[in-house]
Amino acid sequence: MASVFDVTLVCLILAVGAWSTFARLTFSAIVIFIVYGLLLSLAWVRLAAVDVALTEAAIGSGVTGMLLLNAVARLRSTDAAPTPSRSSVNIAAGVFCTLITASLAGLVLVPPQVPVSLAPSVMESLGQSGLGNPVAGVLFVYRSLDTLLEKVVLVLALIAVWSLAPDGLWGGKPALRPFPQRDSVLIFLARTVPPIGIMVGIYMFWVGADEPGGAFQGGAVLAAMWILVMIAGLAAVPPTSSHALRLALIVGPVVFLAIGILGIFLTGTFLAYPEGYAKPLIIAIEATLTVSIGVTLAMHVVGPPEKEWRS
């Protein structure tokens, strides 16, 4: 029988999700969405996927929440749009959505006869790569092409965001407005929390090889700390044309690609790690990835350049 906690958690998630969808004000919708994200990471813990819970909390609701809050602050002027009207189209859409949900629920209720899983084959050959965490194994050993392509997607999305700046401001500084007053409390926070945060981020990346954690989650924490410092005004927002920023952006994918190509010369196949050296190589990849992901996520939140900057 499903435990009471699970049932309440699911009901809570659905309630908060519905509330966020139908909230009158966009600002409250987004705040509720962040709560929804945290509840979801609880659900991931219940589904015994701690890695994913960390990712959901860090990226799914953390950084995305920051992004949406920043957006709603900018859009405050156009917020008074009415809630969805009760027109016939909406009712029809509702009916179709329930039909889709019903068909999916029907599938969920009838689990496949023979449970099918790749877990045994993952565990059986995980030992060769020296990694302890199976999810990290899948990400960086078995399906490393996915991870590489996904990194390229992240970098390309950033180029796309930057491309939305007007011609004149290309290479300029993104307009993250630091907190207006020279307020002591936020600066105090920005001075004390980041060291802990950075330590937690690095710990998360480091432990990722054997325990749940990894480059993505660590990178997200680092990004959060950097944004906190920038908002408090302690650190200047780097111009998008700064050489250091761009190098930091691409150091992750470049190292990943280099090691992949190295695999061709040493073992004859792309993205294959030579015997015995798998773990150090993967750690090297993850280290640079953490830095790149951190910088990229922060730059996504900060947005396209909006101020003149002549280096």
């Binding site: 007053q181 307020d183 409390v185 936020l186 105090f188 926070l189 004390t192 929390v193 802990i196």
Partner: protein
């Protein structure tokens, strides 16, 4: 021995939850933003403290217990600062409106 610890944990956690319930009630009852904020932070910190305190014996290892305490400290710390910021901004909005 474990029985005593379990009883202790259950007691502490229930009291903690009780504090949270009060905080929620206060949040709904109080008229304006500042008083709600006041109620929330104070009561939640105490509630969380009690729950963490109650769970300490359940934590597997000493490291686990330390992590729990770190979590509590971090929540205390950031909660207080964030409350300050929200209070200031609601007061400033109060003056402008």
């Amino acid at each position: 021995m474990t029985l005593i610890l379990d009883v202790f944990t259950i007691a502490a956690v229930t009291v903690g939850v009780f504090f949270f319930v009060i905080a929620a009630l206060a949040f709904l009852r109080f008229p304006d933003g500042l008083t709600r904020l006041h109620a929330l932070t104070k009561v939640d910190n105490v509630g969380l403290g009690l729950i963490v305190f109650g769970l300490l014996p359940q934590a597997g290892s000493v490291m686990g217990a330390l992590k729990l305490i770190c979590v509590w400290l971090l929540v205390q710390f950031s909660g207080a600062i964030v409350t300050q910021l929200i209070a200031r901004s609601t007061r400033r909005e109060g003056q402008e409106a």
